[in-house]
Amino acid sequence: MGSQPGPLRRRPAEGLVAGVAVGLGRRLGVDPTVVRVLFVATALASGFGLAAYLVGWVVLGVEEAAGTGLPEATAGGGVPGGSGGSGGSAGESIASRARSDVQGLALVVGMVPVLVILLLLASVTQVPWLGSIAWPLFVTAGGLVVVWRDGTDADRAPLRQLGAPIARLGAGPSGTWRRAVARAAVGVSLGLGGIGLLAAGNERALLGPLGGIALVLGGILVVFGPWWSNLARELAEERRARARAEERAEIASRVHDSVLQTLALLQRHAEDPQRVRALARGQERDLRAWLFEGRAPGGLPADVSTLAEALRQVQAEVEAAHATSVELVIVGDVPLDDRVEALVAAAREATVNAAKWSGAPSVSVYAEVEPSRLSTFVRDRGRGFERAAVGADRKGLSDSIEGRLRRVGGQALVRSQPGLGTEVELSLSLVALPQRGAR
């Protein structure tokens, strides 16, 4: 608790669900994990933890972590930020929004009979724990209703994620549906058996209550277990899918640059068997090298080690494959690394595009290395195009140029006017790179 932690606020950007534990941990100077474990433990013991968490979710305002653009950058009604160095502005709490939600409040109040019934049931069956979970259950359910009705989209997202498997269970194919019914039946009967044992518990010494609890837990596990394991698997899967999607985009732009470009060239030179054969052979060699030797197609030979050499290579290749001259001007130079190579690949694609589509007799490529920035311009005085008229399936612009730069933290800017030509500007920040020739 060394520094001023500021007022108690949720931190959704850092949290697992709604950021209540992180906020509490910050405030108390405790690791959020400790707070999380406490919440889970008390939730399992009596349901109290879950209820407390939801209350926190509803009541606490949002702390906007510096630099994270949270969607709920609300200002009105917010309490000014803390006096210390936390610097975050306070967001509106869900509770303050819920005050005006009459229907939502009615819904919550409407749950009171359920609470009463539960308490009655507890007293009738003489099961003390049923009574003890009744209140937390009520608070939890009420909190969920309020969060769902009055929370922002960012608040609803974790709920949606938790609830998705349940929803899918009902909507799944008939096979799964039948299995789910069977599973629910087993779970409910286990749970009922457990409750029965507990209800009769005062007649036996210890075995009854323990066995009853085990049965209830077993029932819960049977019913919810698959959902939980699904949820965990889906989280891991989602992460993997993102990595795969990125890889696929990379492969797609590679294939586009090499195979698709060659196929387009083949169509153009269909009446020239010699040229077709040469193009096909070259592409075959490239693909083999990629598949069996791991060298990327359209990639650069191993002896090319700087930006200028790579761009000269691009110039030579494009001039050889297309009837277009490439005017190349380079100011400064940097050694190649993954990011610079991505820029070169994008520049190559832009140059090929200009050679293929613009109809201009020459393409200008200009690269300049400044101490902190690398920029490359590919310009033609050809026919130009309207961005809106380029189909989404034409991967050249979006994937091979803009996507490539985006993936390495750079930027691609396309300026084109029908009839006046096109200029593609590619830029990359070079902060971490040593400049060649500088001593």
């Binding site: 130079d333 310009r379 020739g437």
Partner: protein, 226 residues
């Protein structure tokens, strides 16, 4: 009638008189054909000594000069002609040369540099511009100049900043030219007149010719080291 190069520019004259200096006969006839009848070719030469002799004899408005000749650099031709008191203008033309050789020709006094890929009408345009007293920067020359003047981190500041450094606007103009913009396109992009673009380019040329030998030779040494 007798033309006095350097005095009046192109106004009122029909065709610039040109001497071609290049060691390849085939290339000379190619250029001659491209220039067509908008330019009067009054002489040709294939090496340094011949070139100086022909230029002094023919008194052309303009010399189209290969940067590299078998007997030496094009800069020797410029210096030889200047030493004899002629004010003929020079336009350097070549396929691809080391930047320091191109800069040397410009520093010797050539008023422009274009590559041999240049289209016929653009070449004629360049010839008329240089004959008229303007400077002609091809994208590549603009790149060379930016490179030569680029501030290298950690370098001591130049002795005379006014001479050695390009202004921000001049850099901007050079950058656009390097990107393939014509003077007219540069003017449109920067919302200035073509005349202003021309004066910026001339100023750069002057700075290049007057800049301390120290700075440029260090740049050339660095390029060779790299």
């Amino acid at each position: 009638m007798s033309p006095v190069p350097g005095e009046t520019g192109m106004a009122g004259r029909a065709r610039p008189r040109v001497v071609l200096v290049d060691d390849h006969r085939l290339f000379r006839s190619g250029v001659r054909a491209e220039l067509g009848d908008r330019v009067e070719v009054v002489g040709e030469a294939g090496d340094v000594d011949e070139a100086v002799e022909v230029v002094l004899g023919a008194r052309p408005d303009l010399v189209i000069l290969d940067v590299h000749l078998p007997s030496g650099d094009g800069s020797l031709v410029v210096e030889g002609v200047r030493a004899a008191g002629s004010a003929a203008r020079f336009l350097a033309l070549s396929v691809s040369d080391a930047p320091e050789d191109v800069i040397a020709v410009i520093r010797a006094g050539a008023r422009g540099y274009v590559t041999k890929h240049i289209a016929g009408d653009e070449l004629i345009d360049a010839v008329e511009r240089v004959a008229g007293g303007d400077a002609v920067f091809s994208p590549r020359l603009a790149g060379f100049v930016l490179d030569a003047f680029s501030a290298i981190p950690g370098d001591p500041p130049p002795v005379d900043p006014g001479l050695d450094l390009l202004s921000a606007r001049e850099r901007e103009v050079l950058r656009l030219i390097a990107r393939g913009y014509t003077y007219k396109e540069v003017a449109r992009e920067l919302s200035i007149s073509v005349k202003t673009v021309e004066s910026h380019v001339s100023a750069v040329l002057r700075k290049l010719q007057l800049s301390t030998r120290h700075q440029l030779s260090r740049w050339a040494a660095q390029r060779r080291l790299v």
